[in-house]
Symmetry: C2
Subunit: 179 residues, 2 copies
């Protein structure tokens, strides 16, 4: 797989847009790769982006899946921006190291775009890091507001567009199904 047909370099996939399904699609990719028996690393840059359901599901794959929650939560709730920035940069250093090691066939950088949008980390550094990844490593970046530059660097970009959302029609969040 992955490197047996064309993808010797691996792919850089980007899921962006304001609709639901970005992290969920990354999660689906993770399970697909795990099903193939490939080591997968998920780094979650925004605390709480993954729900207990997927964390529990992930435990059935703990022989193959490394899961790291690095973030502190959404910055607009924060009362300590300097601390947020320090945590974000440390998380990105960890991600760079993980990508560089090449131990995983798939590395998911979940909600990474927020760190770029808030200028907590340097976009060019992200692009350079992904571009110089070890052969056979796929990288997935998710999050709203990916820049044109980041999209240009990716091999595949899907924009998840919110056409309709249940909250708008008055239905409250559902644990287990909520994204």
């Amino acid at each position: 797989m992955i490197d047996d047909v064309g993808g010797a370099k691996g792919l850089f996939l980007l899921f962006t847009g304001d609709g639901k399904g970005k992290t969920t699609a990354a999660l689906g990719l993770a399970f697909r790769a795990l099903g193939h028996g490939f080591p997968v690393c998920v780094i979650q840059f925004i605390k709480g982006a993954w729900q207990p359901g997927e964390v529990a599901a992930a435990k059935r794959f703990d022989d193959l899946l490394d899961f790291h929650v690095m973030g502190r939560g959404f910055t607009w709730k924060s009362d300590d921006l300097a601390k947020d920035i320090a945590v974000a940069r440390e998380a990105w250093r960890f991600a760079k190291k993980t990508i560089g090691e090449g131990r995983h066939r798939l590395v998911i950088l979940d909600e990474l775009t927020y760190l770029i949008s808030y200028k907590m980390i340097d976009e060019q550094d992200v692009i350079d890091t992904v571009a110089s990844r070890p052969a056979g490593t796929h990288v997935v970046v998710t999050g709203r507001g990916a820049s044109e530059k980041l999209m240009a660097a990716a091999d595949l970009v899907t924009e998840m567009r919110a056409i309709k959302h249940p909250y708008k029609s008055g239905i409250k969040a559902c644990k287990g199904i909520e994204f």
Copy 2:
């Protein structure tokens, strides 16, 4: 979950559009629900839409997950349209029965829109069936070309838009990562 906050009825989610990530997001939802210990049923209406990776991953959840491949493949490759229609209708009857039984908290009707687009099954029947589902049952429909009517019936609609696709830039399919 699911029925403990507002969603006593369960949600009808629709992933459409020409971009990658529709089936993958549904797969992510399945694993999320399985992680919660909820029974899940996946019905695949187009043969081959799921890759060996997710089938293998699904096996780790065979205590909770029912997985059915009902389709024959893409109709435009078919040499027997009458047979395709018969198979599609039988698959839809099975899906109706499954939804009606209410044994699953999440029922995924993967690539169902194609059967509607090709007039193999009746769209109003799909809408009525989903609308009358047992309480607490979530239904996910995926596939390109969902009609306005189907979108109006859904609680949540995400359009996966293809901004950029690797095939367009000359990279071939990658087993394991391919959607």
